[in-house]
Assembly symmetry: C2
Homo-oligomer: 202 residues x 2
């Protein structure tokens, strides 16, 4: 979990608060975590947490380092790999790091995010705004394609980390990219075909 | 929310408990709901709830009427529609009824399920066992394809009901079937191609 570094000054305190927030959210889950408890863990005044991050939902969305890496997903892929393959690899690496073996930290972080978003419409709003404002402005696919790609990636993570369903739960990043990448390529190609003269949709 | 009707006898009491459980889970969310509170709402002794349903996680999984309808998804499609199209329609109709316009009841039910499964590994275990034992035995696709189809459907529901991301949030069932059905057909076809002499996977 890394700070997004958007606000100037107070860098170390900000990083301390984020580290404390990561621990508290993981230990208690979203609902039971509080700004007060996070401030106590970081050894700062709660007002300072509000100053840097706003409310609990904003702090939480800032904490999950998903969005910054998500933008990277939509850059051109490495040579020899399809765009879908690259998107799956980068999505997984945002959660699990370059290794990509479904480590317990990624599982706890994703599960806490899912719980937080389900428990609070405000958190769902914050996550949606975050995706729309900071990630998807850079994506050239249509809103419908972006929503379909988001569905597939989110569902994959849910099956891997929360439902723990095999073979997706234990596969490594390369396997998952080989399995789910073609579906994303298919979504992208279908959208391209719609805009062109050929209709491939049944 | 309908009773699954697996146990003989006591039909009305069982239905009353399920109706009460549906209200309590929707009002309080999974974590705060209790067997005691559900029994009070139904006007029965808590021991009777345990007798019919076991513990809270088992009651919850019984309550979400997803699984019974999910099995129907994998039956042969209506004439003129692809298998993927039919699977998406039946999945949505399990949550929203035949109309399929993302009604508030479906949203509340799915969101409560997501929160319950994220908050409790026991509930995740119960849901996984339920899917494996009662739904997927009847599905002819491989475990990997089933996991991929589950990812896509679950992600679609998450984007529609929880993240509330357009255009998926407001689309009707026919539109969603036209958008997501081809992805499922693609997963099924890729699996069939792997088992045959031709390799279509990149």
């Amino acid at each position: 979990v890394a700070p997004a570094g958007r606000r100037p000054g107070g860098h170390d305190t900000r990083a301390d608060i984020l580290a404390a927030a990561g621990q508290v959210f993981t230990e208690l889950g979203y609902e039971r975590a509080s700004i007060r408890g996070i401030a106590r863990r970081a050894g700062v005044d709660p007002a300072l947490v509000h100053h840097y991050f706003g409310d609990k939902a904003q702090l939480f969305v800032e904490l999950v380092h998903l969005p910054r890496d998500l933008a990277g997903e939509f850059q051109p892929p490495d040579p020899g790999r399809s765009r879908g393959n690259a998107i799956v690899r980068r999505f997984l690496s945002a959660w699990e790091g370059p290794g990509g073996h479904g480590d317990p930290g990624a599982k706890a972080q994703f599960t806490t995010l899912v719980e937080a978003v389900a428990a609070s419409p405000q958190t769902a709003d914050a996550l949606r705004e975050f995706l729309l404002d900071r990630v998807w402005l850079r994506v050239r696919e249509s809103p419908r394609q972006r929503a379909q790609i988001a569905s597939l990636l989110w569902g994959m993570a849910w099956v891997r980390y929360v439902l723990v369903l095999e073979p997706v739960a234990s596969a490594d990043a390369a396997q998952l990219a080989a399995w789910f990448g073609p579906s994303i390529d298919h979504i992208i190609e279908a959208g391209a075909a719609e805009r062109g003269p050929v209709d491939t949709e049944s």
